[in-house]
């Protein structure tokens, strides 16, 4: 046998931007190719929006049309489904099947992987928001408010849910993450001001529920998009605290294997 030269050593990492871009594209494709994930991120929010806007099930607890109440809640739900539930489940199984272990010895640094995951989440969210906005507008939605406030809420909400999702994925077993992430999704859907106004809850419960990240996100979005409120500092503050706590705990406790 003679040397072919095919494997002549010539090691080297690709440029960082190329690695992160490629990783983000791969992560996004994995997300969009997964049927269960799509159910969670696309089908459920769209169905809720269409169903509850057209059928008079939800008492919005306020003046204005139902879709004006629902659209901000469903946008918050979209962020929850992708940044928290979807990311937690996907990352939990990546950890279980050694994907994270294998990537840890690739030239892509860990922070690069996390950046790529964040990009994949943001890209998915943009697609969700475009789709849900189109549906809501078709249903007669008339949004108000400052787009900057909306963007800030969405970004801080994404950071808060990502931290909590990664914390779960990096500490629990994959099956436990799957179950818990879906349960949390369901609980927050009902008790986080997404489709049921927090005004429906008794005072004491309500003041606790208001501190949840989903309530801050859906409440903040509703204040801005429906009522045209200014910068929702209180909700942004709550989301920021969750983001710092969640990302901090994930960075501290995440186990790669």
């Amino acid at each position: 046998m003679t040397a072919t030269g095919t494997f002549l050593p010539k090691p080297g990492a690709a440029p960082l931007t190329r690695m992160i871009r490629a990783q983000a594209a791969l992560e996004t494709r994995m997300l969009l190719r997964n049927g269960e994930q799509l159910l969670l991120t696309v089908v459920i929010p769209s169905l809720l929006l269409v169903l509850f806007s057209t059928v008079d099930i939800v008492d919005t607890g306020a003046d204005g049309s139902t879709v004006d109440f629902l659209a901000p809640g469903v946008l918050a739900l979209a962020v929850l489904s992708t940044a928290f539930t979807g990311q937690a489940i996907a990352t939990g199984f990546e950890r279980r099947y050694g994907v994270l272990k294998r990537l840890a010895v690739s030239p892509l640094p860990r922070w690069g992987l996390m950046a790529a995951k964040t990009c994949a989440v943001l890209v998915t969210e943009v697609m969700q928001i475009v789709l849900l906005t189109a549906i809501a507008l078709a249903l007669g939605w008339s949004p108000h408010g400052d787009p900057l406030s909306v963007a800030l809420l969405l970004i801080l909400g994404t950071a808060a849910f990502s931290g909590l999702g990664l914390l779960m994925a990096g500490t629990l077993k994959a099956e436990a993450t799957l179950a818990a992430a879906n349960l949390v999704f369901l609980l927050l859907l009902v008790a986080g001001g997404v489709i049921v106004s927090l005004d429906k809850f008794p005072g004491a419960a309500r003041s606790v529920l208001e501190l949840l990240p989903i309530s801050a996100l859906s409440g903040g979005l509703r204040d801005v998009l429906r009522d045209g409120a200014g910068m929702p500092w209180r909700d942004l503050g709550i989301l920021a605290v969750w983001a710092v706590l969640g990302l901090g705990a994930a960075a501290r406790f995440f186990r790669w294997e």
């Binding site: 002549l8 010539k10 090691p11 080297g12 994907v99």
Partner: protein, 308 residues
């Protein structure tokens, strides 16, 4: 100055709770060689390799890869070292070719992906999702991912476990090409023939220590002697045969007409025996040579009983 070895392990100790997985292991791997780490299940093979890959910190002792610390110098080493894990490592929904192309993208000067796909017989399953690949296909994809970045050193943890004979040959050919191109290979295996076929150097480990070390030939020459058997006329005069053979040989008639000769079995010895037969007008029937294999050495050293 002498070049650093590719892998240099000195006094490595690794414990998991009360269990000592690696217990003072020394091993050095020269650049451009293929080293096979052989050992029964639980001998500490994977723990040793994973410490070299930077996944675990030694409890005692040192591990150096090209003279560098695999944990502290991980960013420098990652592009230079290719890794094939024992299993997994790929998104369950990723297609085989997609994952290999992606891995190539993370490197500056990757091997031609099409060529690797063809060499490892992955063309027919290139569009198949990882979770639907057969075990052998998953193994070959993991091997391709380990070498696609043109590394200087690759760690292969049981690269041919569960492969069919054709895929095994393809893997062996690829490992030989790696060595011919100057890549250092450290692999673990259960298969003796694999170590005999591929390795320049074999380390047999058991109980977390290296218990034998050398080229396959050296290890086979060690241990027990080799044997030659034939059938002939009963009651031949073996004293005259012994005179013609080297001093440490033995010859015996086990049952009437069935002879066994032991000693250093080589072409010279075979010629001596057959010419002695010719002188005695004997046709040596069913003449057979039993050479000591690495498997014999392995079983001798690690014991024949099954372990839990």
């Amino acid at each position: 100055m002498r070049e650093e070895p590719a892998v240099d392990i000195v006094g490595l100790v690794k414990r998991y709770g009360p269990k000592t997985a690696v217990d003072g292991l020394d091993l050095s791997v020269g650049r451009g060689t293929v080293t096979a780490v052989l050992g029964p299940n639980g001998a500490g093979k994977t723990t040793t390799v994973e410490t070299c890959e930077g996944y675990r910190r030694p409890d005692a002792g040192t591990v150096r890869i090209f003279g560098l610390d695999p944990v502290a110098n991980a960013p420098v080493l990652r592009p230079r070292v290719g890794v094939m894990l024992q299993s997994g490592g790929v998104y369950s929904g990723a297609r085989a070719e997609e994952m290999l192309r992606h891995t190539a993208t993370l490197h500056a000067h990757p091997v031609d992906v099409d060529l690797l796909i063809e060499r490892l017989g992955l063309a027919s399953c290139g569009r198949t999702a990882y979770r639907r690949l057969s075990g052998g296909q998953q193994q070959r994809l993991a091997l391709a991912m380990a070498v696609v970045g043109r590394p200087e050193l690759v760690f292969l943890d049981e690269p041919t476990a569960g492969l069919d004979p054709q895929a095994r040959r393809a893997t062996w050919d690829l490992i030989r090409d790696l060595r011919d191109d100057g890549v250092t290979v450290m692999l673990t295996t259960h298969y003796m023939d694999e170590a005999e076929q591929l390795a320049d150097d074999v380390a047999i480990i058991d109980g977390g220590k290296v218990i034998a070390r050398g080229s396959p030939e050296q290890l086979c020459r060690g241990g027990a002697e080799n044997t030659l058997r034939f059938i002939g006329r009963p009651a031949l005069d073996l004293a005259s045969l012994l005179k013609a053979l080297p001093a440490d040989s033995t010859a015996a008639e086990l049952t009437p007409g069935s002879y066994r000769v032991t000693g250093k079995v080589n072409p010279q010895m075979l010629a001596t025996v057959t010419s002695w037969c010719a002188q005695n007008g004997v046709m040596p029937d069913r003449i057979s040579v039993e050479r000591h294999t690495l498997e014999d050495v392995f079983l001798e050293l690690t014991g024949k009983e099954l372990r839990a």
